[in-house]
Symmetry: C2
Subunit: 214 residues, 2 copies
């Protein structure tokens, strides 16, 4: 298949495909001449995946490349595919380390220990969480921090279901792909569901009706 068909089948414009190839999200095609190359089904899948991570998952192109490289590389072990996926899918943030941040970081460590979670010290989610909790402190929302326990419990049961579902896939490659997809797209899914559930719950508790169109 040539680039026009690749574009047609994925819905990605040709210039964008070329850009993604330059950025390494998609490998070059198999060369058949000075200005000719052939693309296969793997290109289609990989391009679709790239698009999903960037558009729906909201990942920076560089992070998407890392994740795609991970999936389509041979020689990964199932023991570190998840960790590596999380590294790739958590774009770096810069933060301010002040008192509130130190307290928040301690709170994160405490939570992880209390739940008996085994988490590598380098997991970037630690830092992201500490950032968010520190911000909540600075905004004077620390009286709500007991909600954190509920959040953690929720996350735990969710992760349990997810990991079990993923580990049922025998093929390591399919597993890696599913991990990346569900880690990246699970966030917006969960966020949307939370908003929908919030509105439904609020309608009940606060007595609002669902008729108003805001």
């Amino acid at each position: 298949m040539r680039i026009a068909e690749l574009s047609r089948r994925t819905g990605v414009p040709i210039p964008t495909i070329k850009y993604y190839m330059r950025e390494g999200l998609v490998p070059p095609g198999e060369r058949t001449g000075p200005n000719q190359a052939r693309y296969g089904e793997e290109h289609v899948r990989r391009l679709r995946l790239a698009r999903a991570l960037v558009e729906v998952g909201g990942l920076p192109v560089a992070s998407a490349r890392q994740a795609l490289t991970l999936i389509f590389s041979s020689g990964i072990s199932e023991f570190d595919v998840l960790g590596k996926a999380q590294y790739a899918l958590t774009p770096p943030r810069e933060h301010t380390e002040d008192d509130a941040w130190d307290e928040a970081a301690a709170q994160v460590d405490d939570l992880i220990a209390r739940r008996g979670w085994q988490v590598k010290p380098g997991n970037p989610a630690r830092r992201t969480l500490a950032d968010a909790l520190a911000t909540l402190r600075r905004l004077g929302q620390d009286d709500y921090l007991d909600l954190l326990e509920t959040y953690a419990e929720t996350a735990e049961s969710l992760a349990d279901t997810e990991v079990r579902a993923i580990s049922r896939r025998g093929d390591l490659h399919a597993m890696a792909e599913a991990i990346v997809i569900w880690t990246a797209l699970g966030d917006p899914v969960l966020a949307s569901l939370r908003r929908l559930a919030q509105e439904a719950r609020a309608a009940r508790v606060l007595g609002g009706t669902a008729e108003e169109t805001a």
Copy 2:
């Protein structure tokens, strides 16, 4: 207080404060001369909040403005503050309506009906969710869509806790503020916790150890 102190107390650089004022995230100070103005505690709070929404919550400046305007406007009723907050906090996305999208939208409607949720037809989370589910379909991950039930259940219990916690705040203004903060910052908190829990669970199920530093 003048702008230098405002900057010092919030940690936001003066040029950025000026930019935020231009963009309407923070109102102008009380004028006392041709080139003098006075700022108060509300400016401090509002600026801190703006910073949190943009930096940690990752909101576009325009969305943050909407949310802040909502919080600091008088004359909101508790019946629609949540709806309006959700509108403000869900940045618009463009999407492709194809077969997969139609199916996904139907799936969303079905889920909402099945759960007995009362959700306004215009809630932007409906569309975001349909987008994500359609993408999962296009990626051939629809065999995992039964996970959606778990996600929904999770979201429901979470929303329940959140709405009860928020409604305990008597003051309407404090309620509106808490809703905006927790809607925006809850997403990264939840996402981080999910990643941490995933790693912990994966270590157990897949037998990996937590010693490797990836």
